[in-house]
Symmetry: C2
Subunit: 355 residues, 2 copies
């Protein structure tokens, strides 16, 4: 029977006493022994051979799971993403860039990246992931303000486990978050249109359960207010950040063209769908409608016309969150602090806004 | 001391006898007990509470790592990707679609997806991943025919461990592979140009160490041969599948325009870079040069002109490989068979080829 209870707040440490002997015989550090036997990182063949020979001679083999059991560590950073049927999440710029940044941090520190999927409609049991030692820490991607998600994340915060939410605010102290300043980014976008002479500026936003959608809305309103422009709710449109939802919004936008100088769109994908559908209806862009989008994805520079858009440093956000979280695991002094970072965006001016 | 050697080919099974008692007290199946205590999959709150209460009453808690130690299983499918400095691999259509398919299979079976990065210049020690029980099986993405990669994969094949290589051939029996039929896909692409009246057809291929680059070359040559066209090596160009390498190739292609009716390009990213650079030089596409690309990524439909391209079912390839590999882990009858699947591609005709 190898079943044994390890509680998250009372982990004991079982020193692997033999490791020192293996290290001495092989003439390397204990850390090198661990790395060779756990298969972590690159290693010279000669070093690897010395360690394996010494381990064999001493009848010693480190078993990663046994070792994790002893140390109470999995060596994995969990990344929990929503499962959305039929949506290839990895193929969206938002998730793929966050993951590239997270992957770089995890790789450079010799961790594994354990991807897990949650059903947004059910409360996800984050705490079990730690209790059962599948992960040492978690990054939560694509969270939103629906009840089940709030409940799961609040429970995690109350358990004081190491985790960080990407790009979504929750009203709970002690909750770590790495985000971008979408209020300022959206202000910059709308201000650019106002500076170009536009006054009748529509707004195609994404789903309201994301705090970053609310932030875009705030930034849009601030820019209008500063210019003395009264917001007009009849030119607010809603999509869900997909290209299809942008195409769908084109019906209403086309109908309202006579009342619009420009439109601010919550991400590039919706803007691309909107532009495709408007061009199919015979619109000339940007002459008939100026557009500013959001993200600066790869595609933004090769649409016709190329998109003026707000560049969001998703890669840097993912890398920073993973770096900070993993640092907290190894540096005892840092374990108490809450991570709270807001990165700046940058307006990229191209032809879609009439320039 | 909880260190203990578990050999890959002699795993013993330590039954967790208490699980049955927990299941009986909670009035659920043993599988449900495992799922609740391991935090796998969605679960009704009432069921979860019954199991947790019963486990508490019996002073029983399943520890995932202890459980893995007993079962000799990690519950993770490893996905090993190359680490390429400065390249955001998740943001490339090829990797993101493969991962979306793999993720769907892994999620539906309650596994975790453990992402690991290898340095292509060093032999990666796949075997250690199994010995140290970080993974139960591996999918290998982006492998190529350089010596270090060949050595690592041959060693894995010789150890008879469950794994599958995505979209790359190696000369070794007992090696599982899921690929697409790039020879036929490329034949179809070039044949389409010949049918449209082109005879002087250039070829911008990707890096030759990928067997799928060689397959594209074969398909290109077969289409020419069938039409009685002599291949002309002076209109062969080489990139590395990046957009930048497509832009770079534009110098030579522009110089050769007088000798080219069309060009076949090994992926959409290179084609997009090539088109951008050619347009900057004043070329009119497709009038000055007809183009057929490869992949049918999202971007292919909104370039100007939209790309005629060969659709590759990367999502299906990832899903199929993961499904087959995970089935082998649970079904003892299937463990011996080698996975060998080649999926069909499909030509998507748009304006870049002159239609």
């Amino acid at each position: 029977m190898y079943t044994r209870t390890l509680f998250i707040d009372g982990q004991e440490d079982y020193p692997l006493t033999n490791r020192k002997e293996v290290a001495r015989l092989a003439g390397v550090s204990e850390a090198t022994v661990s790395r060779v036997l756990n298969g972590i990182g690159p290693m010279k063949d000669s070093t690897k051979k010395r360690v394996l020979d010494a381990a064999k001679q001493l009848n010693y083999e480190l078993n990663a799971v046994a070792s994790s059991f002893a140390r109470g560590r999995s060596g994995n950073l969990g990344v929990v993403m929503p499962h959305v049927p039929k949506v290839h999440l990895f193929s969206t710029y938002y998730f793929s860039e966050l993951l590239s940044g997270i992957g770089e941090a995890v790789r450079s520190k010799g961790y594994g990246l354990l991807l897990l999927f949650r059903d947004p409609a059910a409360e996800f049991d984050y705490v079990s992931l730690y209790r059962t030692q599948r992960v040492d820490a978690c990054l939560i991607l694509g969270a939103s303000a629906i009840d089940s998600e709030i409940a799961g994340i609040h429970r995690l915060a109350e358990a004081s486990l190491p985790f960080c939410v990407m790009d979504q605010r929750f009203e709970h102290s002690g909750l770590s978050i790495v985000a971008a300043d979408h209020e300022q980014g959206s202000y910059d976008a709308v201000r650019h249109l106002i500076d170009g002479g536009c006054t009748r500026i529509g707004f195609l936003n994404g789903s309201p359960q994301y705090s970053n959608s609310q932030d875009r809305h705030e930034g849009y309103l601030r820019a209008l207010a500063e210019a003395g422009i009264e917001p007009d709710e009849s030119i607010f449109y809603e999509g869900n950040y997909s290209r299809t939802s942008g195409r769908r919004a084109a019906e209403a936008v086309y109908r309202d063209l006579g009342r619009l100088d420009a439109i601010f769109v919550g991400n590039d994908r919706m803007a691309i769908g909107l532009m495709q559908a408007l061009r199919e209806k015979g619109c000339r862009l940007p002459d008939d409608l100026k557009i500013v989008a959001y993200d600066d994805s790869d595609a933004a520079s090769f649409t016709e016309p190329p998109l003026t858009t707000v560049k969001v440093p998703f890669y840097d956000m993912g890398r920073l969150a993973a770096d900070k979280l993993l640092a907290r695991l190894t540096d005892k002094d840092q374990t108490d602090g809450v991570i709270n970072e807001k990165l700046q965006t940058e307006l990229k001016i191209r032809k879609s806004s009439g320039n």
